[in-house]
C-alpha cells in the first residue's frame, strides 16, 4: 500500500515537473475527456448511485451528473480568461515598472471526497485542480463503494493517467496519503477528520481547503400570503429530504419557527411530504436511503433519548434491513440532546419554536457557525439583520440548496463549517498560487533608494511616499529645503 502511494506521487511529480499539465491545451483536453466520461457512463453512474445510496436517477442527475457537466462547461468557457494575469496597480513613482498577478498551479494535489455525493463532490474539485494545471490524486469515499470503483475504473480510460490518479481505500490509505507532502489538500467531510487532515498537512506546510458541515438552520418567518407559505414549505421539504435524504452538508438540519405558527407548519409539512413521497415513502422510490449500517445506527441513536422520542410529531418507520428511514418531524426536542448538538445528517427534522422569530439570530449565534443559513421571510429589515448579525458560509433567502448551483458564488464554510472555497472561478483560485510579478527596467534609477543615507534622501523618500510629485520636483530643482 505504501508503495502504491509512493510510486504514484513520484510519477505525478515527474509529470508536473515536465510542465505538461501547465499547458492550457492539456487542461482543456482533460476536461473535455471528463465530460465525455460522464456522458458515456451516465447510466452506470445512476446505477452506482442507486446501489450506494438508493438515489433516484433524477436526483442523481440534479445533484451529481448535472453539477459536474455544468461545472465543466462553465470552466471550459472561462478558462482562457482565468489563466490570464491580472494587472497590479502601481504608484506613478515606479513608472515604467509593471506589476501583475499571475496564477500558477500549485503542483501535485490531493482530494478527499465524501460519500453523500460521491460523484459530484469527487469530480467537482478535480475539475478545479485540472483547470488550474495541477496533477491530481483523488481518494473517493470507501463508504460509497460502487461509485468509488466506477470512478477508479473509468477515469484512467479517459484522462491522462500520468497526471490524474485514483487511489481507493479506507482510513489506512488516508493515513498513508497524509504522511506525504502535497502541494494542496482538499477535503470534504467531518470536522473531526478535518482536524486530522490539517494537523498532518501542517507537518509539510501544505495549505488545505476544508469543506465541512454543521447544523444548517432554516428560519421560517410568518408569511401572510398563504401561497408563499406553501412555496416555502415545498422548498423546505425538498431541502431536508430531497438531497440524499438529509445526508447533505448544505441540507436543512433544523427549523426555527414562531410558536403560534408551528401547528400550521407541521400540518403543511405532512401534506407536502405526502404529495412528494406518497403515504409510503419507502415504496415511492423518490428518497435516498441511509448510506450504511453505521450511519443508520447513528441516526437511530439520536432518537433513543426518551425526551427526544416523545417529541416526535410525525414518525416514519425505521427499516434497518433496507437502511431506509422515513421522514420524521420532531417538535421542540430538548436543546441539550444529541440531536440538537451534532449534525443530524439524516431524514429527521427538529422544529424549534420561538416566541418571536427575531430570536432566531440569538439561537443561531449560540451555536457553531453553520455552512448555510436559509431564511424564508419578506421582511427586508429582518433579512438585513440576519446578514449582518449572524455568520455562516452562505445565506439563502426564500429558497434552499440552489446557492450550490450558482457558479459565481463561492462555496465554503467559516469557523467549524470549514475554510477555503470553491466552485466556478473560486475552484481555479483554490488550486492556484497567485504569483506577484514585478517587471522593472534598468532606467530610470532613483539614487535616493541607496545608502549612504543623508537628509536629502530622507526628504525625497518622504515626499515620494506621500506621492507629492510637486514637492519632489521642487526638491530636485533645489527649491525645497531638506
Amino acid at each position: 500500500m505504501t508503495e502504491i502511494v509512493e510510486e504514484t506521487l513520484c510519477e505525478l511529480r515527474q509529470t508536473f515537473k515536465s510542465g505538461k499539465t501547465k499547458s492550457v491545451a492539456w487542461r482543456k483536453t482533460q476536461l473535455n475527456a471528463l465530460r465525455q466520461l460522464v456522458k458515456d457512463n451516465e447510466e452506470k453512474v445512476f446505477e452506482a448511485l442507486y446501489q450506494d445510496l438508493g438515489k433516484h436517477p433524477i436526483e442523481s442527475y440534479r445533484d451529481e451528473v448535472g453539477v459536474v457537466v455544468k461545472t465543466i462547461n462553465h470552466t471550459l468557457s472561462n478558462l482562457d480568461k482565468w489563466v490570464a494575469p491580472t494587472k497590479g496597480k502601481l504608484p506613478l513613482l515606479f513608472f515604467p515598472t509593471r506589476g501583475e498577478v499571475l496564477p500558477e498551479p500549485l503542483g501535485v494535489v490531493l482530494i478527499f471526497a465524501s460519500w453523500n455525493f460521491p460523484i459530484s463532490l469527487a469530480l467537482d474539485p478535480v475539475i478545479g485542480a485540472i483547470a488550474a494545471g495541477n496533477a491530481v490524486v483523488l481518494k473517493p469515499s470507501d463508504q460509497a463503494p460502487a461509485c468509488s470503483s466506477l470512478i477508479a475504473k473509468t477515469i484512467p480510460q479517459y484522462m491522462d493517467p500520468k497526471a490524474v490518479r485514483i487511489i481507493e481505500g479506507g482510513p489506512q490509505i488516508c493515513e498513508k496519503l497524509l504522511q506525504h507532502k502535497w502541494d494542496k489538500i482538499f477535503f470534504t467531510g467531518s470536522p473531526q477528520v478535518g482536524r486530522v487532515v490539517m494537523t498532518a498537512a501542517a507537518k509539510h506546510l501544505t495549505p488545505v481547503t476544508l469543506e465541512l458541515g454543521g447544523k444548517c438552520p432554516v428560519i421560517l418567518d410568518s408569511l401572510s400570503n398563504p401561497s408563499d407559505l406553501k412555496v416555502a414549505i415545498k422548498r423546505i421539504v425538498s431541502g431536508k429530504w430531497g438531497p440524499c435524504s438529509g445526508q447533505a452538508c448544505i441540507g436543512i438540519d433544523y427549523m426555527l419557527v414562531e410558536e403560534k405558527l408551528a401547528p400550521t407548519v407541521i400540518e403543511l409539512l405532512k401534506k407536502t411530504m405526502k404529495s412528494f413521497y406518497t403515504e409510503s415513502p419507502k415504496d415511492a422510490n423518490c428518497m435516498a436511503r441511509i448510506v450504511n449500517k453505521h450511519h443508520f445506527q447513528r441516526v437511530q441513536n439520536l432518537l433513543k433519548d426518551p425526551l427526544v422520542e416523545a417529541s416526535i410529531v410525525h414518525g416514519g418507520s425505521l427499516d434497518e434491513e433496507n437502511l431506509f428511514i422515513e421522514p420524521i418531524i420532531l417538535l421542540d426536542p430538548p436543546l441539550d440532546a444529541a440531536i440538537m448538538n451534532e449534525e443530524i445528517f439524516g431524514p429527521l427534522l427538529p422544529v424549534i419554536t420561538l416566541k418571536n422569530i427575531q430570536e432566531s439570530i440569538e439561537f443561531i449565534n449560540e451555536r457553531p457557525k453553520p455552512l448555510t443559513i436559509y431564511a424564508f421571510t419578506k421582511d427586508e429589515n429582518f433579512k438585513k439583520k440576519i446578514l449582518s448579525e449572524t455568520s455562516s458560509g452562505s445565506v439563502t433567502f426564500n429558497d434552499v440548496l440552489i446557492q450550490f448551483l450558482c457558479d459565481d458564488l463561492p462555496f465554503g464554510g467559516v469557523g467549524s463549517s470549514g475554510f477555503g472555497r470553491y466552485h466556478g472561478k473560486f475552484s481555479f483560485d483554490t488550486f492556484s498560487h497567485e504569483k506577484a510579478v514585478l517587471r522593472a527596467g534598468f532606467f530610470p534609477e532613483l539614487e535616493a533608494r541607496y545608502p549612504p543615507w543623508n537628509n536629502f534622501k530622507m526628504t525625497f523618500i518622504k515626499l515620494a511616499y506621500d506621492l507629492d510629485y510637486f514637492g519632489l520636483f521642487l526638491l530636485l530643482v533645489g527649491l525645497k529645503r531638506f
Binding site: G88, V193, S227, T278, C286, K383, L438, W453, I461
Partner: protein
C-alpha cells in the same frame, strides 16, 4: 478512524525550539521577560478594564481575575480571548465608523510617534533612521492610507451573476469579519510586521491580539504603549512574551492566525490551529535567489542587489537576497562591481558605518558565525568576513562557489553573508532554484525577453521581480505571500482585508417562479427538462417544455 493526533503542543513547541540551539538565549530572555510581563501586564489590563467597565459591567470580575495572575498562562489567555469575544459580539468592531476611527488613529500615531519608533528600532537593531523610515514607517503609512481610502469600497457587497438554473434570483458576496484574530509577528521588521497585519485585521472588522517578538524588546514594549494609547483597548490588545506566552495563546480558539517567522514554528502554529479548525496565513521565508545574467546594466543591477541585501536590515529580511546565481565567466566582474558599490554605500570600513543595521541578538550572531566558520566555507570568502561580537556586527561578506552540502547553502542565511553560485550557462539557474524548496521571492536581472518569460513560467515562488529587488512589497496592488515552504496565504492592501474576511455568499430568491421540476415525484419528463435547465441551454429547455 485510524488517525493519531500529535502529542501535546506545549511540549512539542518547547522541545523543538530548544533543539535549534538557541535554548540558552531563549530561556534567559524568558526569565527576564517574565518579570517584565509581570510588571507590564497589569498595566495593560487596567486600561482595558476602565474601558470595558463603561461598556459592559459584567466584564469587570473577569478582569479582576486576570489581574491576580502572575504569569500569562493558558487560563489567562482564555480570559483575554473571552473578553475580546465579548467586544466582537457586541458588534462594535463591525461598523465602518469604528474601523475608520481605529485606522485614522493608527495614521495619527505613525505621524506623532515617528521618533519613538525610530528610536526603538535603533535600540533593537541599530537600524539606520532612513532605512527604518523607508522599510517600516512609511510602508505602514501607505498601507494605512490605502485602507482608509479603500475601505468603503472594499466593504461594498459584490454583486454576481446568477444562472438560469436559479432564475429568478439575485446574488452577492458579502465580506464579514472572522471574529477574534491572532497576529504573531517577528523581530526583523518588528514594527511594520506587527502594525501591517493589525491594519488588515481592523479594516476587516475583527478584534485582534498581537504577540510581538521578544527578540526586539524595545519595539515590543513600545507597541504595548502605542496600542493602548491610540486604539480601542477592548478590541485590540498586545501580549508580550516568548515561548510560554505564545504557547498559551496558541491553545485558544482563534478565528484566524497570521504568523510571520520561520517554517519550523509555522508548522507548530498550523498544527495548533488545526485543533480548532482555524485558518492560518503563514508568512515564512526561504532562500530567495538573485539571478544575474551577463547582459545587464551591471552598476544598476549591483546597487539594487545591495539594496535588497545589506541595505535591507543587513540581510535579516524574509525577502532579502539570500544568494546570487551567475555564470562562471561573469562572476569576477560581478564581484568587482559589488566591491565598488559596497564601498560607495558603506565606506572603506563597513564595520563602523552607521548606514547599516547590526545583527539582532547574540544567538543570531553565533548562528551566522557558525555558518561562516564551517570547514568548506571559510576559505571561500572573497570579501569581508570580519566579525565583532561585542557590537554584534558582521561585515558585508561575499563567498564564491561554496559546496552544496554546507549548512549555509541549505538554510535561510538571514544575515549579511552572500554566497555566489556559478553555473556554466545562465539557464542552469533553473535547476539550482528548482532543486530547493519554493522561495518567497526570485529576483532576475536580465535584458533577455525570452529568459524573463521562461523564469515567469517555470519558476514557482511567492513573488518574482524582474530587474529589481524587494520593491514588490511596497506595491499594494500585489499580494504578498509565499508558496510551499515559503508560506501560505497573502496580505497587503486589499489582500489584507480579504485575508481577514469571510466571503459570505448570499442568494436572494422570491416566492414566484416555483417550478415543480425540482420536486418529487420524479418522472422522465422532469429529467429531460432538468438536464436542459442545468446545462443552461435555452433551446433544449423550450424543446423539453414542448414535450420533445
Amino acid at each position: 478512524m485510524g488517525f493519531v493526533l500529535p502529542t501535546h503542543l506545549k511540549t512539542d513547541l518547547s522541545s523543538r525550539l530548544v533543539g535549534t540551539g538557541s535554548a540558552r538565549a531563549f530561556s534567559y530572555r524568558f526569565q527576564r521577560k517574565n518579570h517584565q510581563a509581570f510588571l507590564s501586564f497589569p498595566k495593560l489590563v487596567v486600561s482595558s478594564a476602565s474601558f470595558s467597565q463603561k461598556c459592559f459591567a459584567t466584564v469587570a470580575p473577569v478582569v479582576a481575575e486576570v489581574e491576580e495572575k502572575e504569569t500569562f498562562d493558558s487560563e489567562t489567555a482564555g480570559l483575554l480571548v473571552k473578553e475580546l469575544r465579548k467586544s466582537f459580539n457586541s458588534g462594535r468592531t463591525k461598523s465602518y465608523e469604528w474601523r475608520m476611527l481605529q485606522l485614522s488613529n493608527i495614521a495619527r500615531m505613525l505621524d506623532e510617534k515617528e521618533k519613538d519608533i525610530i528610536e526603538a528600532l535603533y535600540k533593537d537593531l541599530s537600524k539606520p533612521e532612513l532605512e527604518a523610515f523607508i522599510s517600516e514607517i512609511s510602508t505602514a503609512k501607505s498601507s494605512c492610507k490605502e485602507a482608509l481610502e479603500g475601505l468603503k469600497q472594499w466593504m461594498v457587497p459584490q454583486k454576481v451573476k446568477t444562472s438560469i438554473s436559479t432564475y429568478p434570483s439575485s446574488a452577492e458576496i458579502v465580506s464579514e469579519p472572522l471574529g477574534v484574530v491572532l497576529v504573531i509577528s517577528t523581530w526583523n521588521f518588528p514594527f511594520l510586521l506587527s502594525i501591517d497585519p493589525i491594519i488588515g485585521a481592523i479594516s476587516a472588522g475583527n478584534a485582534v491580539v498581537l504577540k510581538p517578538s521578544e527578540i526586539a524588546p524595545a519595539t515590543s514594549s513600545l507597541l504595548v504603549q502605542l496600542v493602548e494609547e491610540y486604539l480601542d483597548s477592548s478590541a485590540v490588545k498586545v501580549v508580550e512574551g516568548a515561548i510560554p506566552e505564545t504557547t498559551a495563546l496558541l491553545e485558544q480558539r482563534w478565528d484566524k492566525i497570521l504568523y510571520t517567522g520561520s517554517a519550523k514554528v509555522g508548522r507548530i502554529v498550523m498544527a495548533a490551529a488545526a485543533k480548532h479548525l482555524t485558518p492560518v496565513i503563514l508568512e515564512l521565508g526561504g532562500k530567495s535567489p538573485a539571478v544575474v545574467d551577463s547582459d545587464v546594466d551591471l552598476q544598476v543591477a549591483v546597487r539594487r542587489i545591495i539594496a535588497g541585501k545589506w541595505a535591507c536590515n543587513n540581510g535579516q529580511a524574509c525577502i532579502g537576497v539570500d544568494y546570487i546565481i551567475t555564470t562562471k565567466d561573469f562572476a569576477p566582474k560581478l564581484i568587482e562591481a559589488l566591491k565598488n558599490e559596497l564601498e560607495q554605500f558603506f565606506g572603506k570600513d563597513p564595520m563602523n558605518s552607521r548606514d547599516i543595521s547590526r545583527i539582532v541578538s547574540s544567538t543570531q550572531f553565533a548562528r551566522l558565525v557558525k555558518l561562516l566558520e564551517e570547514d568548506k566555507v571559510s576559505d571561500k570568502i572573497v570579501l569581508g568576513g570580519q566579525t565583532d561580537e561585542n557590537q554584534l556586527k558582521i561585515a558585508p561578506t561575499i563567498l564564491l562557489d561554496i559546496p552544496e552540502d554546507t549548512q549555509i547553502m541549505n538554510e535561510e542565511i538571514f544575515g549579511p553573508l552572500l554566497p555566489i553560485v556559478t553555473v556554466e550557462k545562465i539557464e542552469g539557474s533553473f535547476d539550482v532554484i528548482n532543486s530547493r524548496p519554493k522561495p518567497l521571492a526570485v529576483y532576475v536581472f536580465t535584458n533577455n525577453e525570452q529568459l524573463k518569460k521562461s523564469f515567469v513560467e517555470n519558476i514557482s515562488s511567492g513573488g518574482m521581480l524582474i530587474n529589481d529587488t524587494v520593491l514588490h512589497v511596497a506595491v499594494a496592488g500585489l499580494p504578498f505571500g509565499g508558496v510551499g515552504e515559503s508560506g501560505m496565504g497573502s496580505y497587503h492592501g486589499k489582500f489584507s482585508f480579504d485575508g481577514f474576511s469571510h466571503k459570505k455568499s448570499v442568494l436572494y430568491r422570491s416566492f414566484s417562479g416555483d417550478s415543480t421540476l425540482r420536486y418529487p415525484p420524479y418522472t422522465p419528463e422532469k429529467q429531460k427538462l432538468l438536464k436542459a435547465v442545468i446545462s443552461g441551454n435555452i433551446f433544449r429547455i423550450i424543446m423539453a417544455l414542448m414535450g420533445w
